[in-house]
Amino acid sequence: MNIFNKLSFHGGIKPQGNKNISTKNPIKKIFIPDMLILPLRQSVGKAPKLIVSEGDYVLKGQQLAKPSSNLSVGIHAPTSGYIKRIAMHPVPHPSMLNEECIFLEPDHKDQWIKKKVIDYKNLKLEEVLEQLRQNGLVGMGGATFPTHIKASSKIETLIVNAAECEPFITCDDMALREKTEEFLTGVDIAMHILGAKKAIIGIEDNKQEAITELQKKNQNSKIEIKIIPTVYPSGDEKRLLFLVSGLKIKKMDRPSNHGFQIFNVGTLISIARLFIHGEPVISRVVTFTGNLKQPNNFEALIGTPIKYFLNDCGIKEGDHQIIMGGPMMGFELQNSEITVTKSMNCVLIKRNETQSKDTSIMPCIRCSRCVEVCPAELQPQELYWFSKSKQFEKTLDYKLFDCIECGCCSYVCPSNIPLVSYYRYAKSEIRSEEISGERADIARDRNEFRLFRLDREKTERAERNAQRRAQIPDAEKKKLIEEKKAAIDMALKDKEEI
């Protein structure tokens, strides 16, 4: 595999990292707020089914909602307390919409439910996967895809995504530095579940401390530490796969089809916690950074409103915006009531500067700088041209859905075009079109079936009538026929009027 050492993917950008501002202090430990607000749906797939009701007392780690379908995972109480309400509340989502949330009032006893160490080595695979599902494991790298599905494939090589390529974010870096053993155990367990023969940790060369720590503590010869260049977005699944294996796959393909599976650092630590300590996912590491007095990483309970952390770090004077995620892919949160979820890796505070830079949005001049940086090797300017003019079919010709929304193109565009916003718009239009197309197909089928049914009923009735008629005497028959005629005439007249 060494021949790929020098390999880098096409494009990408090298923005200023700004990582060290949040790595000065160790991860701050859990603190329990006055109210935890847990969105019911925190992962890809169907929302889990509530199994508690208002007023219930729950223990730390107790399941609050159970998986409702295969693509669904459980939710657990991050601490002990009372279920206060089940109500709508803003969730961290670009739509700024409200969704159903569980309001948990902690009793500050932080009392664990009885923890059970799971002897994964002696369990059948299905049982292990069911444990993952019940205990709420989802990918912590961003997509929150249920882990039990990803873990069900049999592969050769586990790749650990420790790239953390976005500027400002340091949660994985800090977790690697401080929880190295836990992480390495996680890798071990994941390799066992996946049947992987080896693991490769892909880590950007700007995380020297973490690399040193890993090299020091790693005793497993099956785990290789692979240092990759610091180029955004090296942490994207397909790009990372290419960096560590030289394999290029398309968006719709899965690494598991090629003998690889990719897990994020946070996911692996959660796996270790589950199997070693029997703890479900109730907290994660979140970076609070940007325009703060003291940026820091926190081990945050899921459901903690972010205002607690912001207050702890101290917001500087002046107008600011709260961004969830990094500066490249993050989206704005409308207020600080929003709570930490399994997918929240970073909260970035951006000052509302009155910019002196020339930021007016101009038409695309087709300078093709975006082409040069697009890691998916797309033609962003064409995608933009067609999305802007709503020619969605054309965007598909240019493989819109292979765009990973990394934002490299917008980053370099001299015309300051919010390209990614256009792609997101086009993608969601196409998706909703597909859905309404499906609905229309169903409606058409049902309508056709109804017409067919009416027709059949009519012929059946006619047959029945004919049979009956055969049995009645002639005179009556005549009368009947006349009546019918009149009725038909009426009907015809009606029809004409229509």
Partner: protein
């Protein structure tokens, strides 16, 4: 709501365009040194008109004008148009040219970024077609005058030179045209004495070299990529060498082709118009090769002294198709 990404590289359209005219300034100075200040008046007049037309169009279309007036693309367009037409052209020629470029070729299509034809070259082609006599002759007169060929006054070239200040310049012939008419008649009707004996380093070729330098600056600044200019120059060299190998008496060699006429200017400043050239790398190469071949075909066989302008607008038509067929592979496909 702000949209991601929230950090940006600081670069803007006006920044890109201003590099283009930085790159053009040295050649302008050399031009003035050799041929006098005439060009400057045209330039000021043309650019002012262009900005005016731009402003009017934006106002008519109800678009806030400021960012577009500041983007500098109008200035680049007008500049390139003005240096392509004889510097002694009357004001109304400039007016018609700038109108064609800015209004017809650019704003009717929707302004910056939406045009499919190179505005400056459309302006030039419309002028050439409409007023061939004026555009191809320095002295525009209808009198079927005396033997003014000896005075070498009716020079024509894509860069018609201002002859006011420097008499030396007069003796520098415009070989493209003279050789062409010479070849056109198989020499049997032309006084052989008139066949241009010209030096390689005449003012015009020096100006062309300064365009080359400006082009290198743009390459260095990554405003343009190498594909278009280098491919064009190589194509011209190869194709003209090939032709002159066939018949050196009929066809000029590569040096003449490069140092005369608009190949260098075209290679670095005209083909590279980002809006109207292909965006794919292979597309750029195909585009430039075809422009080179068409240009030389027009020069050697066609009806115009220089072919860059027509070759460019002809190839502009092909850009969507070229792009369609040169799409690079998407990651993973």
């Amino acid at each position: 709501m702000i949209s991601s990404p929230i950090i940006k590289e600081s670069d803007s359209v006006s920044f890109v365009m201003s590099h283009v005219f930085f790159a053009l300034i040295p050649s302008l100075l050399i031009y003035i040194y050799f041929f006098g200040y005439g060009i400057l008046g045209n330039l000021i007049f043309g650019v002012t008109l262009g900005v005016l037309f731009e402003y009017l169009c934006l106002k008519l279309r109800n678009i806030s004008a400021k960012p577009f007036l500041l983007d500098g693309s109008t200035i680049v367009t007008c500049w390139l148009l003005i240096i392509s037409i004889p510097s002694g052209s009357p004001w109304w020629i400039i007016l018609i040219g700038v109108f064609s470029a800015i209004v017809i070729a650019k704003h009717i299509y929707g302004g910056l970024g939406s045009n499919i034809f190179n505005p400056a070259m459309i302006g030039y082609a419309i002028l050439l077609i409409s007023f061939p006599a004026m555009m191809t002759n320095w002295e525009v007169s209808n009198s079927l005058g005396l033997n003014n060929f000896l005075n070498l006054k009716n020079l024509f070239n894509l860069f018609h030179v201002q002859l006011i200040s420097n008499i030396d310049a007069v003796s520098s012939a415009t070989p493209l045209d003279n050789i062409k008419t010479y070849l056109f008649l198989n020499a049997d009707n032309l006084n052989p004495n008139n066949f241009p004996n010209y030096e390689i380093f005449n003012p015009r070729s020096i100006i062309n070299i300064s365009y080359f330098a400006g082009g290198l600056y743009l390459l260095h600044k990554k405003i343009i990529s190498w594909h278009l200019p280098i491919t064009l120059i190589i194509t011209v060299i190869l194709f003209s060498s090939f032709m002159s190998l066939i018949d050196a008496n009929k066809f000029m060699g590569p040096i003449h082709h490069l140092l005369n006429g608009a190949v260098i200017l075209g290679a670095f400043f005209i083909l590279t118009d980002p809006v109207t050239s292909p965006t794919t790398k292979r597309g750029k190469i195909i585009f430039a090769i075809l422009i080179g071949i068409i240009t030389l075909t027009i020069r050697n066989f066609g009806g115009y002294p220089d072919g860059i302008a027509f070759a460019v607008i002809f190839m502009n038509i092909w850009v969507p198709l070229i792009e369609k067929f040169t799409q690079p592979k998407v990651f993973g496909y």
